[in-house]
Structures are given as structure tokens and as C-alpha cells.
């Protein structure tokens, strides 16, 4: 009961802060802007060419589902990691910086329990954010096109594509969204880990973004293609593999295990650091 109350309070503290939920608004605005741009003739012509080259009909596939996937792809890449890093980077270090952590730790609560609560809070935030992005993308795109339509999906490197009927497309969309929520927990955990060290919240955010950015750049360099399995961002792209016509479940499960290990390691390192550090003004 106490644990539930403490977790609820943690979420309340988090969502009451402007910078936590401002990300939700930023995503909605970004999605509307992208939809408006997609309304222009040139992007539609490009989409028509692309879907046509795979045997699809523009009117059937230029609908809510296909556009929602495009919206998620762009907005999440641009803003997802940023907001998760921002809130995750704050979760411990902001409380230490503001001095509220000392107030909490003058109570008979263990640091380990606090770390479990904090990580759960950031995990719930991350999942909520991804679910919001995907729901708003689908709703906005469906309003924009007047319905869900069929799903056309293609990997950025064109290594795989899929054309799905509405029901099958919706199922794959939902499955991909939950996968994206799961892989995002790794990003949140990296931010959480840095936040547990003695550093400013902004430093924890910047370090998280730096790790993800360097990881992404390195995994795309031809010299490191052979080592791509070691890169977090490569394994994180497994969320889109679930939309393949024949999802490579062995690769996907390998990616999820890898990400789970990284997530656990980040939590353990962060928790060990926090549990052993002095808190003093």
C-alpha cells in the first residue's frame, strides 16, 4: 500500500511539472505540421510512386495507418529520445539539485526502494508518452485522411516492406507501438543511470542524448556494420521489424534480450551509485 502511494506520488510530482507534459504537446504540434506538409502535392506524388512500385494503390494506402507510421517515425526519432532523456535525466538529479532528495531521505525510506519507485515512474512516463504519440498520430492521420485505410510500411533502408489490409494493419500497428514502448525503456534507463550520478540534470540529459547519437552514427558507418548487433539504436529498431510481413522473431527476441540486459545494467549501475553516494548540500 505504501509502495503504491509512493509510486503514485512520484508520478504526480512528475506529471505536475510543466517540462514533463510539454513533450506531449510538442509531439501533437509536430505531428500536425508533418500532416500539413504531407498534404502538399509533391510528398503525395512521392508516396504514390513508392506504394505503386510495390503494387499498392495510393487511395487505399494513403490513410490513417500508413501516415501514423510515418508520423511516429519522424516525431519519435526527432523528439522521443529528447523528451525521454529530459525527464529521465531529471528523475534523480533534479531532486538532488533542488534539495528535495534530502527531505525524502530524512524519512525512514531505503534508497533501494526509492530507486525502484523512480525507475518505475520513468518507465510509466515513457510508455505513456509512446502510447500518446501513437494514439495521437493515428487519430490525427485518420481525421486528416477520413479513415484508417490500409497499412503500407517500408523500412528506411528498403530492406523490408509490407502491404496490409486494415484489420491486419491495425493489429501490426498496435504490436509495433508496444514494441516501441518496450525498447524506449532502454533509453529511459540510460537517462536514469546518468541521473543517479553526481551531475546536473542537464548533464544527464546531454550525456544520454550523446550516447544515443554516437551509437546511432557509429552503427550506420560502413566500417562498423559487422558490429551492428552491439549498438543500442540498431537493436532498438526492432520495433519496426514486428511490422515485417514475416517478422524475424529470432532477431527480434535477440534484440529484446540485449536491450533488457542494457536496461538492467543501467538500473543496477545507477542504483549502486546512488545507494553509495553522500548527499550533502
Amino acid at each position: 500500500m505504501m509502495f503504491y502511494r509512493q509510486l503514485r506520488n512520484e508520478l504526480y510530482k512528475m506529471f505536475a511539472r510543466k517540462r514533463s507534459w510539454i513533450g506531449f504537446g510538442a509531439f501533437a504540434v509536430a505531428q500536425i505540421i508533418i500532416l500539413v506538409l504531407l498534404h502538399r502535392p509533391k510528398p503525395q506524388e512521392r508516396f504514390q510512386e513508392l506504394v505503386g512500385s510495390f503494387g499498392g494503390i495510393f487511395e487505399e494506402y494513403f490513410g490513417g495507418l500508413s501516415l501514423a507510421i510515418i508520423l511516429i517515425g519522424f516525431t519519435y526519432t526527432l523528439l522521443g529520445a529528447l523528451y525521454i532523456s529530459l525527464v529521465g535525466g531529471d528523475i534523480v538529479s533534479k531532486e538532488v539539485e533542488d534539495g528535495t532528495m534530502r527531505m525524502i531521505l530524512s524519512r525512514p525510506v531505503s534508497r533501494l526502494r526509492l530507486m525502484i519507485i523512480k525507475w518505475l515512474a520513468i518507465a510509466i512516463y515513457t510508455i505513456t508518452l509512446v502510447l500518446f504519440i501513437s494514439t495521437s498520430a493515428l487519430i490525427l492521420a485518420s481525421i486528416f485522411r477520413g479513415g484508417l485505410g490500409k497499412l503500407f510500411f517500408i523500412e528506411l533502408d528498403r530492406s523490408a516492406y509490407g502491404l496490409f489490409e486494415t484489420n491486419e494493419g491495425f493489429f501490426r500497428y498496435v504490436r509495433a507501438v508496444f514494441s516501441l514502448s518496450g525498447v524506449s525503456l532502454t533509453f529511459a534507463s540510460i537517462a536514469f543511470m546518468f541521473s543517479c550520478f553526481k551531475m546536473k540534470p542537464a548533464a544527464a540529459t546531454i550525456l544520454t542524448l550523446s550516447v544515443l547519437f554516437v551509437d546511432m552514427v557509429l552503427q550506420q558507418m560502413p566500417f562498423f556494420k559487422v558490429y551492428k548487433h552491439w549498438f543500442i539504436t540498431y537493436q532498438a529498431s526492432s520495433w519496426s521489424w514486428t511490422m515485417h510481413p514475416e517478422p524475424p522473431w529470432d532477431r527480434i527476441s535477440h534484440a529484446w534480450i540485449y536491450l533488457l540486459i542494457v536496461t538492467l545494467l543501467c538500473w543496477i549501475i545507477g542504483t549502486l551509485r546512488f545507494c553509495s553516494r553522500d548527499l550533502k548540500t
Binding site: M2, R5, Q6, N9, Y12, K13, A16, R17, K18, D98, G99, T100, R102, M103, I104, L105, S106, R107, P108, V109, S110, S276, D278, L279, K280, T281
Partner: protein
């Protein structure tokens, strides 16, 4: 209540607290005094388990604060220098959030504590709108909500105006006397400690140089102040007294610390015999400031009562 045994804490090469032994008895108002950087806040941090001691043990009511944190801190409330809150939330929300880390208070208890600290009309306001004095009161409220037996206050008067200081002092005294709460507070304001404390511990450069009841028993009677016809004669008499075995310490303005067997009458007799025209002589009511400055003159060497110092 609180027992520190041979506690040492280092930050890198800097030793913040050296082999500290301290016992804080139940029911006391214990003033921890020292200059900035003396190690007071580190000591309080260690008592609360927020700073890890490199050596030694700290127990509260017999429970080790590191090994059995939940039990040790179950009866403790604390406030820190410049209290910090979630400024975007109301004071009431802050109190509820912090209380849920120990035991959620009943509505009656919440109302009682809010009334006590005088925040009744402002409890639904965001703490970001609070003045420093109000934040101190709110901090006190959050510390009192779980019904603590021990209250730890780190520089409670810091940043308060004279009215606020007086209010805080009254409140602390009331909590000690009416609510039977043991108080441990740190301060570098001598007058604050002098007016409140039943016990005083003095820290200098990480070392505990004095801890005892305040004023220390027997100390008053060992200090005497005399005055001759002129200040020059007083100083001259003091200088000559220094060479005798009658006194152990000489302070300016005819303040002398008597040696073990000396009485005020012995000093009067000596002054008369040595032709010093003595105007007045009497026991010195010892002020903490002088005591503290004397500690400073001793350069951190542990203070000894006259009885202990005597061979």
C-alpha cells in the same frame, strides 16, 4: 537517544569529521556549534544516514542508521538549511508526498501541525510563493507530521528575520517542553545556541572540542572578574596573576579562571597584598561567546574542565 562512536568522515583528502564521540540524551535541546566548515552539517547528514561515515557507528535509540535505517529514522524529523520543496505544488501536497515516505498522517494530525506552525490560511498555496520564513515553518510541519521523538534542525534560524528567529526559538522550546521532543540543532549563531540549548557541543575543524551541559557545571564558579582603579592597573594585576599558581587562564578586562584550590577571597587577598587598589571582584557569569572564543584561542585543542586539567 543518539550515540556517535568514533565517527570519521573524509571527503577526498579532506577530513570533515575526526573520531567523533557524542551522546545526545533524550529530552535535551542539543546545540551543535561551530564555524562554517567545522563539520556540523556533515555530522547531521551522517546521523540521518545521508552521508556515509568512513569509520565508527551511529545509532538512534539503539538502531544503527546505516544497517537499520528504517527503524533508526522512524522516530526522527529533520529540517535543513534553506528548506526545499516541490515549488510547483501546494504546501499541502508537499506535506502529503513527504509524509507518505514514513506514515501518512490523519487529517486531524495534519490540521494540528499546520495550526501549530501557523500556516493555516496558506496551506493550499504553491510553495513557490512562500517566503523563507514560511518555508521554514512548512519544513517544521513536515518534520513534525510523523510525530517524531527527535527533531534534527540544520541552521534553523538561518535567513530568518529577528521576529522569525524569536518565533522559531519559542516553537523549538515548546516542542521540547510540551511535546517532549529531543532537539538536535546546528548553528553558528552563538546567541541562538545560548538561549535555547540545554547541552552544547562545539566543533572545530572536524573535531569535537567540547560537549557538556550548558552552562557546564562548575564553570561559572571558576571564573572571576575584578576591576582596579584604572584599566592599566587591572591589566597589570592580571599580568602578575598569570605568574602565580592562583589562576590558569587570563582574559582581557580582569577576567580570570581560578585554579583548582583558589577562591575569590584568595584573589582579593592577593590583590590587596600586592597593592592593587581593587574596586570590585565577583564571579563571572559566563557567556557562550567568550567560551567559544576561548575555544578558538585553544586552536581546537579539546577543552578540559579545571578539575580534569588539574594534576
Amino acid at each position: 537517544m543518539i550515540q556517535l562512536t568514533d565517527v570519521t568522515k573524509k571527503f577526498g583528502r579532506q577530513t570533515a569529521v575526526w573520531g567523533m564521540d557524542l551522546f545526545i540524551p533524550q529530552g535535551s535541546i542539543y546545540g551543535l556549534l561551530g564555524h562554517n566548515g567545522a563539520g556540523k552539517s556533515t555530522t547531521l547528514g551522517m546521523i540521518l544516514g545521508q552521508v556515509f561515515a568512513d569509520h565508527g557507528s551511529i545509532t538512534i535509540n539503539g538502531s544503527d542508521v546505516y544497517k537499520n535505517r528504517a527503524t533508526a529514522l522512524s522516530s526522527v524529523g529533520a529540517i535543513f538549511e534553506s528548506p526545499c520543496f516541490y515549488d510547483y505544488l501546494s504546501a499541502e501536497a508537499n506535506l502529503k508526498i513527504l509524509s507518505d515516505y514514513s506514515a501518512p498522517p490523519t487529517q486531524e494530525r495534519l490540521a494540528e501541525v499546520i495550526e501549530l506552525v501557523g500556516l493555516k490560511g496558506r496551506i493550499r498555496d504553491r510553495t513557490g510563493t512562500y517566503s523563507h520564513g514560511m518555508r521554514q515553518r512548512l519544513a517544521l510541519a513536515q518534520a513534525l507530521l510523523p510525530g517524531p521523538e527527535l527533531l534534527i534542525l540544520d541552521e534553523p534560524a538561518d535567513g530568518l528575520d529577528p521576529e522569525g528567529i524569536a518565533e522559531m526559538r519559542q516553537l523549538v522550546r515548546r516542542l521540547n517542553q510540551e511535546w517532549n521532543i529531543t532537539i538536535l540543532f546546528s548553528s553558528h549563531q552563538l546567541s541562538e545556541v545560548e538561549q535555547l540549548a540545554t547541552h552544547v557541543a562545539v566543533m572545530r575543524e572536524g573535531r569535537l572540542v567540547f560537549d557538556d551541559r550548558w552552562p557546564p557545571q562548575g564553570l561559572d564558579s571558576k571564573w572571576v572578574q575584578f576591576e582596579c582603579d584604572s584599566p592599566e592597573q587591572t591589566e597589570s594585576a592580571s599580568s602578575k596573576l598569570r605568574l602565580t599558581s592562583l589562576v590558569t587562564q587570563i582574559l582581557p578586562n580582569g577576567k580570570i579562571e581560578l585554579s583548582h584550590d583558589t577562591t575569590t577571597s584568595d584573589i582579593t587577598a592577593w590583590l590587596v597584598q600586592n597593592d592593587f587598589p581593587v574596586q570590585s571582584i565577583g564571579a563571572l557569569s559566563f557567556a557562550l561567546e567568550e567560551f567559544y572564543l576561548e575555544m578558538a584561542e585553544r586552536d581546537g585543542k579539546p577543552f578540559q574542565h579545571q578539575e580534569e586539567a588539574a594534576p
